[in-house]
């Protein structure tokens, strides 16, 4: 399989896109969108991360087994976040309240 050489103009184009997205994320943070601020911030960060993975890290030109490892990494992270959060959000809110901890310690 011949190796794919990514031309510099692709890298520069990706760099410029990343700069535009960085400016967009700062601009969006100054607008009050309530709960959607964090959604937009994470969405922009994920687009930036995807660009870096696909082009700077050559994932777009890599074999299927590399894609499998990348997808596995994201999937495992999703398992950790989703299962941990599903535990916390279905318990009483005061699971982390200091009073309970000090109560357990008997102080």
């Amino acid at each position: 399989m011949p190796e794919h050489i990514v031309p510099p103009k692709v890298y520069v184009g990706i760099f410029l896109s990343l700069m535009v997205l960085t400016a967009a994320t700062v601009a969006a943070a100054y607008v009050n969108l309530g709960p959607f601020n964090i959604v937009i911030a994470l969405a922009i960060a994920s687009v930036k991360a995807t660009l870096v993975v696909l082009f700077f890290m050559h994932a777009r030109y890599s074999p299927g087994r590399t894609h499998m490892v990348i997808i596995a990494a994201v999937f495992w992270l999703a398992i950790m976040l989703a299962l941990t959060l599903s535990d916390y959000v279905t318990r009483d809110r005061d699971v982390t309240v200091n009073a309970q901890i000090t109560g357990m310690l008997g102080t």
């Binding site: 050489i5 991360a49 870096v52």
Partner: protein, 243 residues
Amino acid sequence: MHRTGELYGQFETLEQQKESAALGMWIFLSTEVLFFGGLFMTYTLNRHYYGTAFGVGSNTLDLKLGGANTIILILSSLTMAMSVWASHVGKRKQTTAFLVATLVLGTAFLGIKVIEYKQKFDHHLVPGYHFQIDYRAQHPAPNDDPKEIEAEKEELSKAFAKDPDLNAHAQLYFSLYFGMTGLHALHMIIGAGMLVWLIRQSIIGRFTTTYNTPVEMIGLYWHFVDIVWIYLFPLLYLIDRHR
């Protein structure tokens, strides 16, 4: 392990050798995703419970320095990618030059981080006995903008009204701030060390159009560290800028 030119004994072709290295590197990076993932998990939960304190903590960070660092780090990813390209097409001098540029930018990032950490020490925002979230508002420096201090005082009094335990909860924010940026900076320092080695190898002419695996693998690592910062920047600096 014997080596014929650039090809190590256990491989049939240089192509296979490089693909094996790339697979190993990606597997390592997937463990790194979970390594940082634990901190992101902790961040998510604590921000969920103590949003007010996280907003106040985030607003004490210097957005100009953080933004500059974001630009510097993404630029360093560009120079790293360019050195991979230069090594692929056999431009030896350019490979070295782009690696040096990456090292300089990485060091600049760490230098700015030191300035930011110093500010946090000066403002008593390092978790521990002397932590005081309103220290700067109570003890403004002579060159601080009085309007800014006034705004900070107002923000703090509102936050204390919402969350009487603000001082304790803001320490959680700063523990995560130092923990996450600290682990990220440690990765940068390791990356800088590897860049020094790469530059040396590049100068002595170790890399050719057929053998440039180390440049590419350390490039993957460098871009991964960039991705971590791409998430850290909005999560730490931009929580509550629209006050």
